[in-house]
Symmetry: C4
Subunit: 288 residues, 4 copies
């Protein structure tokens, strides 16, 4: 029936609730060489740290769910109160660039510089221990992967090569999926050519995906953004979904950090777990 991955406490599957708390940082990075910063887009994204994140924290608190927040260093520096509220509520805080820099556009030296500054920003607000990482825009290169290993990052959560945790070249991946990212369905920014889907549409789709994932014992990592999923209709719909997840005894609801730790304890980073028909080898870029 399932693909055979083993979860704690005989749970049938795992769900990770994660937020990329990026606010205006992707826009500022993408327009870093523009002469003009447009207020409309800035304000749309500021909804996240101003309003959205507080609604999400309230919702998680009501349902006693621990989530993972991937926070660019610049957001930690400019919104310390929000980040401290996340931390004090017991959620995981992990790396997401300093200004949401896309790794495929950075030189190796820049990769290390960005990583070091983003680690410092999180440490400054009180985050401790080995940090997890999610790459901005889910881009990844071999150079970036090596930089993460050099800095002893605990895990990555940006790739889609499986739907259970896996190891690639010695580092654990907690895999994501475009179909589980709210931005794919909700984002409407200048230049976007299709309307956002309704909250009902997305939440029903995710509920069906979670149900189907039980059959394969898979991991569902939901990725959301406070400036999008914190809007009123979306926050109300998200609450309904999370209530169902929290009440489901077959689901292990866990942070990305806890899922990576489970994988490390049970399968190691030598990839002793074998995905059929064989283990995932240390991949090189040239390999298909």
């Amino acid at each position: 029936m399932s693909d055979g991955y083993m979860w704690p406490d005989n749970k049938r599957m795992a769900v990770c609730i994660s937020f990329d708390f990026d606010g205006p940082s992707p826009y500022l990075w993408n327009s870093r060489e523009s002469a003009q910063v447009v207020l409309g887009e800035l304000e749309q994204r500021r909804f996240g740290p101003r309003v959205g994140v507080w609604r999400i924290l309230e919702l998680l608190d009501d349902l006693a769910i621990q989530a993972s927040f991937f926070v660019p260093g610049a957001i930690a520096d400019s919104h310390p109160a929000a980040v401290e509220a996340i931390l004090s509520a017991g959620h995981e805080i992990a790396l997401h660039g300093y200004m949401h820099e896309r790794v495929e556009q950075l030189t190796p030296a820049e990769l290390y510089d960005v990583l070091d500054r983003s680690i410092s920003a999180l440490v400054k607000v009180g985050v401790s221990g080995p940090l997890g990482y999610r790459s901005p825009s889910w881009e990844m290169t071999a150079d970036a992967w090596n930089a993460l290993k050099e800095r002893d990052v605990a895990y990555d959560s940006s790739l889609m090569g499986s739907d259970v945790p896996y190891t690639m070249d010695g580092m654990i991946e907690v895999p994501v999926d475009w179909a589980l990212d709210d931005a794919v369905f909700y984002r409407f920014t200048p230049g976007t050519v299709r309307p956002p889907v309704t909250p009902r549409h997305l939440i029903e789709a995710w509920h069906e995906e979670i149900g189907a994932s039980k059959r394969y014992g898979a991991l569902v990592v939901l990725t959301m953004h406070p400036w999008m999923s914190g809007r009123a209709g979306r926050a109300v719909a998200l609450r309904a979904l999370l209530e169902r997840c929290a009440a489901d005894p077959e689901i292990w609801l866990a942070t990305a950090g806890a899922i990576a730790a489970h994988h490390r304890s049970n399968y190691g980073t030598d990839s002793s777990f074998r995905l059929r028909p064989g283990r995932i080898r240390a991949e090189c870029v040239q390999e298909i």
Copy 2:
């Protein structure tokens, strides 16, 4: 339960019905340097002043709803009968550029010139008092914001930084949302790559958004265009939505001007209202 914004008469939330009565003006502005103006697109947009606006006025009259119409000066000059009908029915008329000029493409001198000409055009058809403003295409720059303040504009309604009224650098914002703009869902012009959604789809989505917004005590500003929402199937669907809004005792149905005035009276322009966890400061462009 709610974010704590206080509405008049203990209403739980507010809904503003607004129309950007732009007709062909955005097309004429965008093609101002083209050698050729294409009749197909002109005619599609002329549906607004010819047919759509009259259907909308009838609908609003039937339901005794006062709406806000944002009217480019060129429309007031070329369609005075329609604009006077809007005015005599008791609706608010407010600024929307002269030829729907996008503010991020104007020099500071042009910003003032466009603003002055658009004010004159509205005054000429009988609009009085301090005027509200909505920027064409919801673009905004720091220069444009300053020009609005210099001309004593009563409020802006183009940004998305919250879903209750707020003050930014001394001027009131009555915020909008892409998900509440009919153009995002209905517009189909040459180059558009996805089909328009059905009236049923959009109206149900907006009805759900209004319902969810009660939880947070939020403001829902619907933005529509007579050349799109005046089409037969859309006008019939809109009527059904507005009937439900008008019959709901928990909703304060008000013009953008009335909402701005409420905010000014109760919260001032010094931003004494504090969005959790703190008040919205006078923002500068460099701030995240």
Copy 3:
């Protein structure tokens, strides 16, 4: 209740079933300067004259509906059997360019040349009388409008300035609407970025649009393409819609030519019919 347009026999509204029987001609025109014609796209479009048009003729025959077919001259020249079958079944055949040329890309001399060649091609297969016209891709310029008048075209059916017939500068318009064009919803060709909608989705949308149009006494012109709407699932869904139209005593089901003739008889071409609040004047391109 309605906008006041009068239909024959006290019908509440009118529906026109029309087909743009263009097959591969738009692709051949658009790629006329490409070094390479790709067979995949050609074959997809050949489905129209090979298979789709015969299914549509069967369907129309079963329901005793007379439709309007807009046929590029090149299709009449290369598929005379199909065009003769349309004609002998009693449907209207009207102009649609020779090779589906977009009028805004033609010089005045080319406009006349294309028009003359397309008239000749239809006359050659037996079409007679003053011919109606639909512009390829629904584009229109002042030059093209004048060329149509010079050649005594009976009516145009390419613009969207109203949803009842109207006169512009002395020629009758039988107006169309992007939301009533199957290509907007079904077309998937290389470079298209969104999936086709399901037949059920489109047919339900059109059924709702027809129902809503009764309120305003409007005209619904459905535009379809045999290479798209002739596909199995779409043809079956279309049959269900047309059965409902044919059985509805409030609908006047008529060809575009019959609708134009009704307008000419009852309202003339001097635009004596007054769209509220005034008649549609002979428009010039500079007018908003």
Copy 4:
């Protein structure tokens, strides 16, 4: 009622379940001149050979369905275990380029080289007999068509000129349809601008298409990709659809190879079967 194509055993229609098992090969081909290969897209596509194909093989085995797998040579070379598992389960394996090369971008010499290398790769893993072919991205040119004939390819399955098998210039076509390709609905890769549809949406659309195709006695060729349709929610939804197909006595469920063989036996390659109103002639590129 039907268009008159005859299926074996008095079946009313045929359904072919096919998979383009391409994994990362289209991405590697398209980025062959890029300086940088991005890991994110590689990993998303590796889901196919790592996880998706095994789920699909399990599903087909459970339902005793024989499917057609179109496999680029590079996948056969790099994932021999998966390809051998497909073969030993009794499915058809057929050609799909070596590295998913688009034929309209190849010189004639390259067309033959790619074809020869892809044939060798399949022969090496044990595929025998005359091989079928599906062109990468469903592109086709006259040169490519001739190359397939020169190499005695058994059939092509890339074009859309009918919805029953047909012959073009002496070679059999088992036709496809964009509306029956999972990539059109599910693919989300960098640069994609619309969200993937839900599995429920696509599977219901396909179920309706199959039902409607009975009326015309048509062929439904479903095309799927293990890296997309092997995702948990999609695999579960696909199972439900295939269960209904397998249980339907009116459907002939067959591989593309079996369908081509049926056509060859019953209609030959001289196109004795006449699509109304006449047989499909050997087409030339210049013909409409």
